[in-house]
């Protein structure tokens, strides 16, 4: 064999190996939907939610609400003149949400969207929380009466509202913008909002969020429950239509594509990534934090009203071009400590940070000007959540 022939064979062999590698990558691009993120049946509810002008259409808006880990913990019973909202106990997150606080806050968010959509359809909504004392899964009834159509900015922002887990710019959120959000508590009893906008306040709360994240990762049950709602493959997203996808992690396009092409991460790798993102992106770039406060965070009605306020704030932030992400690690640890009978270190520290006698944290979020737009999360269609 001549040197030239040998070099030719080496070159052809190398080309073959490279083509095989590209082939493997191409298959991952195909299989994991790298080139069509946000398309498909699991995302259709974001585009067809206005199609139905009847009371059933209000449910189409409700299912687009914010909710914990995209568990979509709801079912609906719909008639012409009312919609009844129930929890779906199968969609609890166990140790991660030990006292079902987030579960009910998410139901409150859905309730708010439902009310906005009813008004936009010429249906005057009347909300009754926890209407059946004998059935704790029946969390609300919304009765309708005919009325003039009221289409609000918040209603029109329903399909543009997405949790934004990406970085935010260093531009501050003006105090008058935050003040307008304070007025969103109108009509909701016993809920309030506490802002953390100064550097010192942000630093204190951010450090506690990082500490709580570490505690969740160190708690195997909480870590496992959290990982159970991660959807790493397109097949999982298409079939289950729920959970946290790679698309919704706020990653840059290149990193997102690489994450989809590479094999799915393990729980421990996912935990490390989450902690790293919490430290270097979420808390590092937050322009401000908001905490929804209530007198009793274990009270179901307060949780539902708190959820309604959160949804209003998120929709208003969307209208204002702001990004928003829920950061509930601290309250998840507070409830977990209560469940296990541990010393309430996080609860005491949080109360000290809030510094409002008689007020306690229900839910926390960060807010700011996003570097990139938030992406869609999958949703189960109305037909799968009505009974």
């Amino acid at each position: 064999m001549t040197r030239r022939t040998m070099l030719h064979h080496i070159g052809v062999g190398a080309a073959t190996v490279v083509v095989a590698g590209v082939g493997a990558g191409s298959y991952r691009v195909f299989d994991n939907g790298v080139l069509d993120a946000g398309h498909g049946t699991a995302y259709d509810p974001w585009t067809n939610w206005r199609d139905d002008a009847t009371s059933l259409g209000t449910v189409a808006a409700a299912i687009l609400a914010a909710n914990p880990h995209n568990t979509q913990p709801w079912t609906f019973h719909v008639t012409d003149d009312r919609v009844e909202l129930f929890t779906d106990p199968a969609r609890r997150t166990g140790a991660l949400d030990a006292l079902d606080r987030e579960h009910h806050v998410g139901l409150g968010c859905a309730l708010q969207n439902l009310v906005l959509a009813a008004a936009a359809r010429g249906l005057q909504p009347s909300v009754t929380l926890l209407p059946d004392a004998s059935d704790p899964t029946h969390v609300a009834t919304v009765s309708f009466a005919e009325a003039p159509m009221v289409v609000s900015d918040l209603h029109d922002a329903i399909d543009r509202r997405h949790s934004n887990r990406g970085p935010y710019t260093d531009e501050i959120v003006a105090a008058d913008v935050l003040a307008t959000f304070d007025s969103l508590v109108a009509g909701l009893d016993g809920v309030g909002i506490r802002w953390f906008a100064t550097p010192a306040e942000r630093a204190g709360l951010g450090a506690m969020i990082i500490e709580a994240t570490r505690a969740i990762i160190d708690d195997e049950e909480q870590s496992t429950e959290s990982f159970a709602w991660i959807r790493s493959s397109r097949d999982d997203t298409d079939t289950q239509m729920d959970g946290l996808t790679l698309d919704a992690q706020g990653l840059s396009p290149l990193v997102l594509a690489a994450a989809k092409i590479l094999p799915a991460s393990t729980r421990s790798a996912g935990d490390s990534f989450w902690l790293d993102q919490t430290r270097t992106v979420h808390t590092a770039t937050a322009a401000a934090y908001g905490i929804v406060t209530v007198a009793d965070p274990d009270d179901r009605a307060a949780q539902l009203d708190g959820g309604r306020l959160l949804q209003r704030i998120h929709l208003a932030a969307t209208v204002a071009g702001l990004g928003l992400q829920y950061m509930n690690q601290i309250t998840e640890r507070i409830d977990r400590d209560a469940q296990l009978g541990n010393p309430s270190t996080f609860a005491a520290a949080m109360d000290a940070l809030i510094d409002r006698p008689g007020r306690h944290a229900l839910s926390t979020f960060r807010i700011g000007h996003p570097v990139r737009a938030g992406r869609l999360s999958p949703r189960r269609p109305v037909s799968k959540v009505t009974r």
């Binding site: 191409s26 195909f30 080139l35 398309h39």
Partner: protein
Amino acid sequence: MTRVPPKLLILAGRLAAIGGSLGIVTGIAQATIGSRIPEWSGNKDQPVALGLLTIALSATTLAAAQALRRSTASRDSVMVRVSVWLAVVAAVCSTTVGRLWVIPGLLLITAAGTTLAACGWDQFRSEVTSNWLRSLLGILGAFELLMAVSAAPTATIAAGLVAGAALIAAAVLAGPDRGLIVSGLVAVTLPFAFVTWWAIIPPLLSIIAFAIGIAATRVPATRSAVPNVAPPDLHSPGHTQRSRRSAPNGR
């Protein structure tokens, strides 16, 4: 003198014709009612585009079937390429119309295998090894098609399909004009690579296709060095003798 094609090739041609025809029907079904029968059509995001692609690819298998019916033993190198193409169409369309493709796909795969059997394994191996870089180019084209059918929106799908088809065409067609082929390769893969730059693989594929395209087109596609061995089911012994005499160098 034109010789009668062997029975195996006639059979392969018929299988390809039936498979291609059914493929066109499945493409029409996907384009028209695909979204209403998701359990059969694969629940695709772009049923119309994928249906049209299936129709186009299935139509090419009808042309391949015609080539098989008119084949002669002296054109075994073409038959090998037809076999590969039938397999590529069967594979690509298995991703476009879901379960509807089961029967057309099986028919086309069988047609490809039958064609290969008629040509002989040695002929296939020799054809592939003597045109290995071109084969790699064709494989890259198939990968491009695979990515294209999973893309959105329709314009991106179209760009990918054109790029994939061009790479396969460059691999299959014997091109005497090296510069033209390389320029064409670059031109047709760039739009898809550009609109999907963030997905890493499409631009990488374009670069590799460019490099392999240059190397592969330095010499025209060669035909097999293996003498054409007439298939065992040729019509007459004399036929076999003529075939062997007429192609001492595989030509």
